[in-house]
Every structure is written in C-alpha cells, then in structure tokens.
C-alpha cells in the first residue's frame, strides 16, 4: 500500500500513534516517540516519492524494549534500567532503520524477558486485547498485544524459551523464532545467550518473512551469528504443501492438553492434509526433560549475564548504602523484581561448586539428546507440527504465585530453543471462550523458508490470522 502510494507513511504512522494513544489501558508500550516517528515518516514519504525506498520504507514498527535504541529508553521492563538510555543501536534496530521502517516506540515485556505472562514487568502487566482479564503471554507480551489490537502492524520480540511464539499464540498472531544465529544478538539485552533469538510478531507469515529478510544475516559483532548467505524468504513462500510430510508426536497431543486446543490442532492438521501434506508419526521421547533442562541452562546463563547490573556504571543505584558490598546488594535488591531474583538465585545455585556437574553439565547432556531427537525426527518428516501452548491465554494473576505452573506453559516451546531450531506459531482457531489457539511449525536448522511457506499456504485458505479482537476492529 505504501509503495503504491495508496497511503503515505505519515498517514499510517499518525493512524497507529493515535490508536496507541487511545488504548493506553492495554499498557502495551513502555515508550512512544511520536515526534521522531513522524519525522522519520516524512523522510520515508520523500524516499517513497522518488522511489529510493527500501524493503520496509515507511512501515511503522515497534520493538520489544530489550533492543537497544540510541537516544531512547531501553528499560528491559526493569526498574534496574528504568533510567537507561542506550548510546548505541542494536543490530536489529540498525537493520530495521536501514530498511526504512519507522519506529513508533518500545513495547512492554516481562522484566529481562523472564516470564510467560508479562506480569513481571516493572511497568505493570499488559492486557490481552481478546479479553482484558487475560494475560497476553510473555515475555514479548507488549509486542503481541500491540499487534493484536492493531496499535502497530508488526513488532519484533525475542524468544528464549517461547517468548515470541507463546504470546503470538495467546493473541492470535504469527510469531517466528528463527534458527539460533540467524539474527544478530548484538544490542539485545541478554537473558540466556545460548538460547536468545530475535524474531517478528506479525499478522501473517508473509509479514514475518518480510521482517526476517530485513533482520537476518551475519554480524561481525556477534560471534554466534551465522556467516552464511541469507535466502530469499519471500519468493520461497509460494512453495506448496503438496507432498510435504508433517511430523506429529503423539506425546504432544495427549490428554493433558486442553481439549479445545487439541481440537484446534487436529482441525488444522486436517487442513494441512487437504493442502496436500502427509502426516507422519514421529517421536520426541525426551522432550519432557526440556523444561528442567531449559531452566538450568537459561538461568545459569542469566545469573551471569545479569551480573553487569551492579549500579556502578549505569542503571539503578540505591540512594543509601554503607559500603561497596552494601551498594551492590541494595541496588540489586531494589532494581530487580521477584521473578528475576528467583531466577538469578536458581542459576547461581546451578553453577555453584559441588552442584555444577549435577545440574549444569547434566542439563547440557540432555540438551544434546533433545537436539538429537529432533534430528532423528527430521529423518522422517519435512517439518513438525505441535501445539504452541497447552492452554489458551490464562487469567491475570492466575499463575503469579505458582512459578512452576507458569514455567510449564513453555513445555512445547523450550525444546525448540534448546535445539536451536526455527519455529513459527500461527493462529489456528478460537476456543469456547473465543480465545486464540496457536500451533507451531518446527523446521530443521536454517529451514525458516520451509515453515514460513507451510504457514503461508495454510493462511491462504483459513481466516484465523485475519481475526481481530472485537473491541479493536
């Protein structure tokens, strides 16, 4: 629409800024910078007029508040960084800017991306646009709520154990976690370095492919980013599902799954068959070990990654303290919320002398076994279909006091991160309470094209990705 000049970037940007303003009660945004956004939109319109535009020129976007943005608050949902304005841009920020997009602002999130409900944010919980008594999911909850309520066309989140896919599922959106290493982590505040990966939350697989294209590629500033050629994701979307084998693990569809979710997944699988796909049974025998394995590795890494927040050079520093040790303790006690503290403690414990072998080393072994399970499964199928979450969005504060129940929400998503694989969650229906159901398509390493093409084929014949929560149409 922008390129055909049906609408200008300024008009589009103003429209979304207005919607953001009208829907503050969702609490989807931490920072909105209307002035800069409009200035950039005007620049974009000039480029569009003289046809010097790029892939995303004029497209308004929002970023999870975990990506460093020069001159703009980057809080990571924490009191610790509530005063932190980054002096530099993350690679993701840089590339989206270079592609011409217009940054509307930064979206709310669980503190340091630690949570599955967006309730651990220092800036307060985000409401689910489909039902404001429900959580939007987490940790990229603000990002998902913003797209779902059409406060912006698309956002970029991060996924360490499901933080893109789970909120996308809860909010009826398409959420892509690319292969580990596909998008640079430089400038993304680290939670668990070996698992974190940025990705788009969008209204369709096509939009996801577009944003992935803009962000993917080697970055010399991130030693874990992949130095390989980036495929053309958009043309690849047209690949048909005809003859594609879709692996389904019976253990993922057992009686513990919410019946509405199960029904939604089964219906979606039938649609895949109608599109020419062939379903095959696969086994992922060790994925039940995923949650404990994930929580050891992720929290061990997090306990170390969050050490830099000490109040010495930037971030929150306590007003009063007795000595150096007290300054650390007070600053961190005040700066971090309960969930972050809980995770730092668990991670520190897992790395402690005498426990390291039993926890961290064992978890690494399980991680390899889980990755092997996927490798074996992909001998028999082209991609794997699975529920994204065991239930649809739960109610606010329902699980706040039960961390383990909260962690178990990630049971289907974390094995994918442990194996470093790409996966996309797509909406496949509504439950009886009219809340969205998500299904994830998991691909072999680096096969984003394959899962996006499958998602796209599905979205060509189904209406779910176009559904907007009634209050926000």
């Amino acid at each position: 629409m922008l390129q055909t000049k049906k609408i200008s970037s300024v008009e589009l940007t103003s429209h979304f800024l207005q919607r953001i303003d009208q829907n503050r009660e969702l609490n989807a945004f931490i920072t909105v910078d209307a002035e800069t956004a409009l200035a950039n939109a005007r620049q974009a319109d000039i480029s569009l007029n003289d046809k010097s535009g790029d892939l995303l020129t004029g497209l308004p976007l929002a970023l999870k508040d975990i990506f460093c943005t020069r001159g703009m608050l980057t809080s990571c949902g924490s009191r610790m960084l509530a005063n932190f304005t980054s002096p530099y841009d993350a690679t993701v920020t840089e590339r989206l800017n270079a592609a011409g997009s217009v940054l509307l602002g930064k979206t709310n999130m669980d503190e340091f991306a630690m949570g599955s409900s967006n309730e651990s944010s220092y800036f307060g919980p985000v409401l689910n646009p489909w039902n404001v008594d429900c959580v939007p999911g987490g940790s990229s909850g603000g990002s998902a709520a913003a797209v779902s309520a059409r406060l912006c066309p698309a956002t970029v989140g991060t996924d360490t154990g499901g933080s893109i896919r789970q909120p996308a599922a809860f909010c009826g959106l398409t959420g892509l976690k690319p292969s580990y290493g596909r998008i640079s982590r430089y400038g993304m505040v680290a939670f668990a370095s070996s698992l974190d990966q940025a990705g788009p939350i969008t209204q369709s697989a096509e939009d996801a492919a577009l944003l992935l294209q803009a962000m993917a590629g080697f970055d010399p500033r991130d030693s874990t980013s992949l130095d390989i050629e980036v495929p053309d994701f958009l043309p690849a979307l047209k690949t048909s599902l005809d003859g594609v084998t879709v692996g389904v693990a019976a253990s993922f569809l057992d009686s513990t799954l919410d019946p509405d979710v199960l029904a939604g997944i089964e219906e979606a699988l039938r649609t895949f068959e109608n599109l020419g796909a062939r379903l095959v049974d696969i086994e992922l025998p060790n994925s039940s070990a995923g949650i404990p394995c994930y929580y050891v590795i992720a929290l061990a890494e997090a306990s170390s990654n969050l050490s830099r927040f000490d109040g010495v050079r930037y971030g929150h520093r306590a007003e009063q303290y007795d000595d150096l040790m007290d300054m650390y303790e007070q600053s961190r006690a005040e700066g971090f919320g309960d969930e972050v503290k809980r995770r730092i403690l668990i991670g520190t414990y897992a790395l402690s002398a005498g426990y390291y072998d039993a926890y961290y080393l064992k978890a690494q072994k399980i991680r390899r076994i889980i990755a092997d399970d996927f490798r074996n499964a992909f001998q028999r199928c082209d991609l794997i279909a699975a529920p994204t979450t065991p239930t649809t969005a739960f109610r606010l504060s329902e699980k706040v006091d039960d961390p383990v129940a909260m962690y178990l929400n990630d049971i289907f998503t974390v094995p994918v991160n442990l194996a470093g694989l790409p996966a996309v969650s797509i909406p496949v229906g509504l439950d009886q309470a009219a809340m969205p159901i998500g299904m994830q398509l998991i691909g072999p390493y680096l096969e984003e094209s394959r899962i996006l093409a499958a998602a796209h084929s599905y979205q060509q014949v189904t209406p779910w990705h176009q559904r907007i929560p009634e209050a926000f149409t």
Partner: protein, 477 residues
C-alpha cells in the same frame, strides 16, 4: 629441621596487540582514564565479545617456543565475581581447556640446567583499575585496561628457592620479549607475577599448605618476597603453628608479607563455558605459519654465540638475555670486521654500564652498532688508543656517529711514527733524569711512569706499545 621450599609461579603476560582481546578499543598505556573503553569494555547492556585472533596467534607462538601442546580447540569460560573494576561481573578466561598445555623452560639452577615444567598457559582479559587516592572519600574506576589481553603462564611447583624462582621469571621475561608478544614492562604491569609458596621437611613427598603472593612487580621483589614468606612459614611451623592457605601481599618497605584483606573471601567463581564465544579453533596450517615466524630462541642463540663468536658462556648469556642486545651485538661484531670479543666487551662493559646508569633500554641509546664497530676497527688498526676510544665512545653516547670524523676533527689519531715519538721521548727523558737512572738500576715499575709522561705530553695520542718499545731501547744499558 631442614626445610625445603616449593614454589610455583603464575605469570600474567600482557600480549602486545594494538586492540583488546574482545573489542576494538586500543590498548595503549597511559591514556586519560576511560578514553580507551568502548561499549563492550564498559559492558553496556546487549554488547558481545568478539575474539581478536591476533591474541590467539601470540599464545600459539608461546606454546611452540616452550615445546608445549597447542590445543587446536580451546574454550573460553566465565569467572564470576563482583568487583567495581570488573564491568561484566565476570572475567572471560579459559578454564578447563586452555590454548596451551604442558610446556617447559630450562633454567640455570647454579649447578647445571634444570627443567621447569609449565602446566598451562591460558588467555584471559584484564580488569580495569580502581583508583582510591584521587578522590576524597570516593573511588574512581578507570576501564582503559579492561579487556587487555593476558596470557597467564602457570608453572608446576618445580622451583626450590627464591633464586630459582627469579631465574625462571627472568628466563620467561626474556622469552616473551624474544617472541615479541609482550613488551615486558613490569612498571606498567605488562609482566606480573604471583607466587605460590610452601615449605616441607627435606625429603618429604607431600606438599605443605601454600600461600599465594600477589602482584609482585619487580624481579628483586619477587626474590625478596618469596624469601620473606619462606622465612615466615618456617618460623610459624617451628613455633608450633600452621600455615593458612591465603593470599598475601608483599610490602617492599617493611620487607614482609601480609595477608590481603577484604576482597578475597572464599570465592566460588562459578566457572562455565561462555555462551557468547564459540570454541577457539587453531587450524594446523595456521600453526605451521606461526612456527615459521618463530625467531631463534635465547638458548639456541646463546649456544651459537659461544661457538660462532668464541665468547665465554657468561658473555653469551648476558648478550642473549635480551633480543635487541643480541641483535645489536651481532651487527656490531660484523661492523667490527669480525672482532666479536671486542664487540662483546664493549657492549657488556661500557654500554651496559651506561644503560644501567641511565635506566634506559638498548633501543633508546644513540650509539649505533655500525659506529661501535667502526670504533673497534680504529682501535685494532692502531689509529687510536684504547684511552682515546673511551672518549670517542662518550661522544657517540651523546649522539655523534661518525667515528673517523671525530678522530680527524679532534686530531685524535694515535702517534705510532717512531720519529715523532722519539722526539717526545727525548724531551721526557731530559726532564726525568732521576727516573731514568732508577730504571737502569733495575726498577722496572718506573717505566710505567715514563710511559705516562709521554702519553701526557702527546695528550694520550701516543701508541703505548710503541712508546714502551722505544723507551726500553733507549734505556737499555
């Protein structure tokens, strides 16, 4: 009881790369605080380390030079602890899989060669500096040094005396400078030593409890600190006490070691592999390439000097302890028409004395090997006397470089011509009748006085051998 001391050294060798180990900030010493600390060094949220491969190649060079195993795959780990000059709250180091393991260094133990085993050498980043004196009641942090590459060289507890320890340390110092991987500047902290010290009864095969002496910044202090610590431990045990495993600091003013307070409580560093850095891979081809760049090492060079230049082992040792001095010597010997012994004498004597006096490295002296060689040639062809040569040497030290020019301009050419000398000698003998008689009466010593008078009369230019011969001839009965 007779006690044996057991010492192992951990030496932090600062690798002389232009940029840091995990960032592109400069490593130059002495800049204004925090002007050489980039986003990565100050550990802003979201930044990531990227390995400077030059650093790895320097470690490889060290591994090859010490006959060690260079591990083609090594792992970076995080060492977690809180300190204000440690911006990330962890130091990136190597723990389980270091880049170099199992090397050795031969030292002269006083009664023959002794092999000191090197357990490992691993790469790590340096921390910043806390500044406690500059601000009243506050501490400052300078992060310029944060991220400077270090190679930590850990020896086995093979050293048995403070002297052996310092000999090993000097040897290591010489080696890293030969390899051009470290500037060796101890004042600036480019070469720092921690010593693990314990004692045990002679003949015991178990080790005693050790203490660690931290950050000793000169060769002299290393020897004294270890000496004091051994003495302290002996007195402690002989008084019925026990050595406590702890970290101690050496106070050079009081010449004693003291326990380090505060920082070092029983730490659990919670090492784990750094997920931000892939394994460090050294390809075989790369290794061979580094091997090709290895210079002749000090031991081999010393052997060659003894044979090729007919030097005493002591002279050869002194000349080869520093690569630049050895290079200086070889060029000088060449310019001196092959008179290597004179070259060695001038360098080990006059030149070293002046360098030591002014505390200057050889690279900062103004005498060129070519000029020193020319000077030796002029002595050997009897153009000048040894005494005059010392004056010319002084002129060279002050920055002149044309030896022949100096000789001509100042008329320093030695007088060997017997006609000219005879005239002066006649004149001297005319004045010194008494001494001449004494000599004729058999007082040999008087000849020196007469030669001196001739030298004085010619302002040192007379050829002493010629004067000697003529005098003897004239005074013979």
């Amino acid at each position: 009881m007779a006690w044996e001391s057991v010492i192992g050294l951990e030496v932090h060798v600062q690798l002389q790369t232009r940029s840091k180990i995990f960032s592109s900030a400069a490593t130059a010493y002495g800049a204004q605080p925090n002007t050489q600390a980039c986003a990565v060094d100050i550990a802003l949220p979201g930044v990531l380390p990227v390995m400077n491969h030059q650093v790895a190649l320097m470690a490889v060079k060290f591994g090859l030079a010490t006959g060690a195993t260079v591990n083609c795959r090594s792992i970076f780990a995080r060492k977690n602890y809180f300190y204000p000059d440690l911006p990330k709250g962890y130091q990136i180091s190597q723990y389980e899989l270091p880049i170099v393991s199992g090397g050795q260094l031969a030292i002269d133990s006083g009664n023959g060669e002794k092999i000191i085993r090197i357990t490992r050498a691993h790469l790590e980043e340096d921390a910043g500096k806390s500044l406690h004196d500059e601000f009243d009641g506050l501490s400052g942090i300078d992060l310029n040094r944060a991220g400077t590459p270090l190679l930590e060289v850990v020896s086995e507890p093979d050293l048995r005396s403070p002297l052996e320890a310092v000999t090993y340390l000097r040897k290591l110092h010489s080696l890293v400078r030969y390899l051009e991987i470290c500037d060796g500047n101890m004042q600036e902290g480019s070469f720092r030593c921690d010593a693990n010290v314990s004692i045990r009864p002679y003949g015991a095969d178990t080790l005693g409890t050790r203490t660690e002496l931290k950050n000793i910044n000169s060769f002299r202090f290393v020897e004294k600190a270890i000496q004091q610590e051994i003495q302290r431990q002996i007195e402690l045990i002989e008084d019925g006490g026990q050595v406590v495993q702890e970290t101690r600091l050496y106070d050079p003013l009081a010449d004693e070691t003291r326990p380090m307070r505060g920082k070092e409580e029983a730490h659990d560093y919670r090492y784990f592999p750094d997920p931000d850095l892939p394994p460090l891979i050294i390809e075989q081809a790369e290794l061979e390439k580094v091997r090709d760049t290895l210079p002749e090492l000090p031991d081999a060079r010393r052997e060659r000097f003894v044979h090729q230049y007919q030097l005493t082992p002591a002279d050869a040792d002194q000349l080869t302890s520093d690569r630049e001095i050895a290079d200086f010597f070889e060029t000088t010997a060449d310019a001196a028409g092959g008179d290597s012994r004179s070259a060695a004498n001038w360098i080990n004597g006059e030149l070293m004395a002046r360098l030591n006096r002014d505390n200057r490295p050889i690279g900062e002296n103004r005498i060129t090997p070519k000029a020193l060689g020319a000077l030796i040639c002029r002595i050997n062809d009897q153009t000048i006397s040894g005494k005059i040569a010392k004056d010319i040497f002084s002129a060279l030290w002050e920055g002149e470089h044309d030896v022949d020019g100096i000789i001509d301009a100042r008329g320093l050419r030695q007088i060997s011509d017997s006609d000219a000398l005879e005239q002066v000698i006649e004149e001297v003998l005319g004045r010194c009748v008494e001494q001449a008689t004494q000599f004729r009466d058999g007082q040999e010593k008087v000849l020196g006085y007469l030669v001196g008078q001739v030298m004085k009369a010619t302002k040192g230019k007379a050829n002493p051998q010629a004067v000697n011969a003529i005098l003897r001839q004239k005074l013979s009965p």
